[in-house]
Amino acid sequence: MALEQDQVLAIAELCRLQISDAEVAEYQKNLSNILDLVDQLAAVDTSDVAPMAHPLDAVQRLRADQVTETNQREHFQKIAPATENGHYLVPRVIE
């Protein structure tokens, strides 16, 4: 399945990647090739097959409702790009 240029740009927008005009054609080609590869699946009859999300048919385990974590703000914010007064900073978000 071949992707159109604007489809490539729409996908990039959804996953917040910036793609230069020069790169679009390359992505178009590569993504289309990958989609051709996976298009083989369409021919498989899966009418009675339950989808499988996990390799083992296991069940979610539950955690006791206990506070086990302590404040590690200093430790975690040492690796943050920008913080002030304990907050992470981002360009102003307008609502």
């Binding site: 069940v59 539950l62 955690r63 006791a64 992470y88 360009p91 307008i94």
Partner: protein
């Protein structure tokens, strides 16, 4: 044209767990920014979620309370979008297999009728953090303390037909979740928030009109006002022949208007898929039955009992059952004095008035239910008259006494409120009053027999003025006797 309003609500209720839905960080409100955001809440590389059993139990409890189908196999999905308060770039929620399926609640309308509103579903999900826009110059500050707080999102069918109904529905949900103890219900802290979907259609038309969604309304009053203003806005547009744009709007309570949100309008494609870090949540009948056994009496049942067993009016029963704490207070008073109607009058009268005047909640009232119960006992056994009881109550509300039940009796004594029922003492007072008001007595005696019952009023006032705490019934009896003796 005549328009029909169509409203559906999505209510987010924070579950009152100690720790977060997928991490062991505290959910307590009001901590310093990011001091309750652990590695999992921050979405650091390599972290993994583990589901909180209490969040599950609370969601099931809610489902049972609204008579809903419980999802024996529920699945967490990832809802993908980028926003700075969403650390992982996806919200863990439940799309196809929610924990709670179809259920319903009944709301009471102004005309006294009840209306059933169906609940489409309720699912578990994690809350996002908060963006702070003031105090960071050209930047916003992100606080992720709230990120990962467990929520149930309760989705109604679009079955409400007025802003009043929507507010009643929100109130009723608030009442249910606080009764269940699964949400603290504190609207000011955002413990319950509501998204309102509003549309209009010409009366009689089957298909829905284009709807708008008012995000994050957080008080009963604002739900009503926001929807009212949105209905008006849509009606103005439609009446002018315009079209409604499907969009997300915010309600500005100061201006009492809704406005379109700019930031969330980029066409979103949430790309839901099952979260591969979490497994299907499986519960069985035994689990569900065990949760069912912990359900408290809910507001509707309580209200019914108040009417049917204790003879309260439907309206009184509704008011007294709506709030869990108020209902508990009322019932303690009623049981202590063994008179539901007397207790109902007091709780809706003096108690409510005092709460309003002092702007406090029932939990903050200085008069305990046991104390009020004792005061009412004293009315019943004629130790206090109504006026005296009010005085004691007000004194307690202002901080007098030591909080004990015993202090009531000593307050009654020290304030001299004990009612005089001794006929001899009252006869003496009446005699004095009659002697001092000869003209009034003349006038009374000139009054025809059938109008004397009314003419006796001024004497009663005079007697009570002369002596506080006299039993009004005894005064009446003595007055009638003495006056009749005179003529």
């Amino acid at each position: 044209m005549e328009w029909e309003v169509v409203i559906g609500l999505e209510i987010h209720a924070q579950l009152a767990t100690k720790s977060k839905i997928f991490s062991g960080a505290s959910t307590e409100f009001g901590a310093d920014a990011n001091t309750q955001a652990c590695a999992i809440d921050l979405g650091l590389p390599g972290v993994l979620p583990v589901f909180n059993e209490e969040a599950l139990r609370m969601a099931v409890k809610f489902g049972l309370a609204i008579d809903a189908e419980i999802g024996k196999r529920s699945v967490f999905d990832r809802k993908n979008y980028f926003y700075p308060d969403l650390p992982k770039g996806y919200q863990t929620t439940q799309l196809h297999h929610p924990i709670v399926g179809k259920g319903y609640i009944d709301i009471e309308l102004d005309n006294g009728e009840t209306k059933r509103i169906n609940v489409t579903r309720a699912h578990l999900e994690e809350d996002a953090g908060k963006s702070v826009h003031e105090g960071f110059g050209a930047m916003s500050g992100i606080d992720l303390n709230r990120a990962g707080t467990p929520l149930v999102e309760i989705v109604s069918e679009p079955e409400m037909r007025s802003a009043k109904e929507a507010a009643a529905y929100f109130r009723k949900m608030h009442s249910i979740v606080t009764y269940l103890g699964i949400c603290d219900g504190d609207l000011s802290q955002g413990s319950m928030r509501c998204d309102c979907n509003v549309s209009l259609r010409p009366k009689g038309q089957a298909e829905f009109g284009t709807r708008t969604e008012i995000k994050n309304v957080n008080s009963f009053r604002n739900v009503e006002r926001a929807i009212e203003s949105e209905i008006q806005r849509q009606m103005d547009i439609l009446e002018d022949g315009g079209r409604i744009i499907q969009e997300t709007r915010l309600y500005d309570a100061d201006k009492n208007e809704t406005r379109g949100m700019r930031s969330k309008e980029v066409a979103n494609d949430y790309r839901y898929f099952p979260c591969p870090d979490l497994l299907p949540v499986i519960i069985d009948d035994d689990y569900i039955d065990a949760v069912r056994a912990t359900l408290p009496e809910l507001p509707d049942a309580k209200r019914k009992r108040f009417v049917e067993v204790h003879g309260l009016s439907s309206v009184d029963a509704g008011v007294l059952s709506a709030n869990r704490e108020l209902a508990a207070y009322f019932e303690t008073v009623a049981e202590t004095v063994n008179d539901y109607k007397l207790a109902a009058n007091w709780v809706q009268g003096d108690v409510s008035a005092t709460l309003n005047r002092l702007e406090i909640s029932i939990a903050e009232l200085a008069v305990s239910a046991e104390q009020l119960g004792r005061i009412l006992q004293l009315i019943k056994d004629n130790t206090l008259n109504n006026g005296g009881a009010k005085e004691v109550f007000n004194a307690l509300a202002e901080g007098k006494g030591d909080g004990s039940v015993a202090c009531i009796d000593s307050l009654v004594d020290s304030m001299g409120l004990k009612q005089v029922s001794d006929t001899g003492a009252i006869e003496a007072i009446v005699a004095e009053v009659l002697a001092a008001n000869a003209k009034l007595v003349e006038g009374y005696l000139a009054t025809p027999e059938d109008k004397r019952a009314k003419a006796i009023g001024p004497f009663i006032g005079l007697v009570r003025k002369a002596a506080k705490g006299v039993n009004p019934q005894v005064v009446m009896d003595v007055l009638q006797k003495k006056l009749n003796e005179l003529g």
